[in-house]
Amino acid sequence: MRRTLCRFAFAVALLALALPARAQESKHELTVFAAASLSESFQALATAFEARTHTHVTFSFGASSLLVTQLQQGAPADVLATADEVTMARVRDLVDAPRTFAHNRLQIAVEKGNPKRVAKLSDLARTDLAVVLAAEQVPVGKYAREALAEAKVSVTPRSLEADVKAVLNKVILGEADAGIVYTTDVRSAAGKVDGVEIPDSQNVVATYPIAIAKATHEAGEANAFVDFVVSSEGREVLGRFGFAPP
């Protein structure tokens, strides 16, 4: 028994040693809460930002609605970026004035090669299609319902997922035939899913605000990060991932 415990402790110690000791190298730590749809683009932004400022950026990606709830419960975020303005407004007492930094649009994510021949929103009402949407309280879920209402389509989803990446993954895994996500998500999963365009007349413009938490201890770094996101260089990075400038 003791030997097993020793071995276990040894294995854990080895694992701990193998972890990068990056936290000790830089003086400043910045915690950014960002909408799940920003996962890839914000990682790229952080890499560019870290190279310049030696501030280490840690992310928590998730549904904007979940991040906002966590902030209300006292989660230690320095910067918050959400996928819509309504969700950001829920914490208007906890953050400084938000700045809009990007726009996004919706697309229908379908299996590679589009075997079920999904061409438009109204196809999602077909009973032979397994459709998943995000839950209504998640920004992309709300946007998707707006688009479906605009197209006068009623859909019975198989599942209401917790965030946009969960919707995307259900399509990637082949469990769902179609899901409504952001164009940037289809782009980030290029090669694994295909995107079906939604015409502008039915589409929705998603607006992404970013704000600094009033409780931050890293006000200088938080300001620098937000300035970088809205700068022309930040805009250029976001553009590479398919986001439109504000």
Binding site: S65, A135, S159, L160, A162, L173, G174, E175
Partner: protein, 257 residues
Amino acid sequence: MRRAPLLFLAPALGAAALFGVPLVALVLRAPWAELGHQLESPTARDALVLSLVCSLSATAISFALGVPLAWLLARTDFTGQRLVRALVTLPMVLPPVVGGVALLLAFGRRGLVGEWLAALGVTLPFTTAGAVVAETFVALPFLVVSAEAGFRQIDPRLEEAAAVLGARPGFALRRVTLPLAAPALRAGAALCWARALGEFGATITFAGSFPGRTQTLPLAVYLALEHDPDAAIALSLVLLIVSVAALVALRDRWLGA
């Protein structure tokens, strides 16, 4: 009775507080005035009914599959027995989300077995049956472990005596072995049920989340927390009460009363 040494008292109190304080906080913050109203909402009712249906089905399946398996593990020797026991107990230490991913890869539409199932017209993801499978996957080990221990505690001479007195194996099993193991089976079933009721990770990963179909109580709590914390607290309270009830039912076995 010995006086507690101070060296032990502080950490022990810390441990008790770690469990106690969150429960007290839950009870204090509960919206007592509108509790009835909260629990009457369609979402809450759907989730409650679905949770009961799924967890009871999972327990029944676990019982039907787990008791024979536990008996084989306790009373026979076969090659690969240790491997089977390791496999059965693995879900107890496996993160449930990983279990959910594994279930998808096995029984999903593109899964190892799922493709054949789909050809037969059986789909598990996004269905209540899928939620039951996910809960069974996670809860079955608790029944097997408890039942195996129960079978092992039975003096084999009692079974031998039954055989000597002319009881056929089936009769001896029904009238001697199972009644003697009954307390362990009951405890295992209760534990299995409580675990199934609380299942979250495997269910949301494998079965998705849809009200009335796969959105069980824990999933409803998680989603409600984002927009309606009072509803989340009310639903959590229901789960807490059920858990306490299960514990009370098992008190003789665990609390040493």
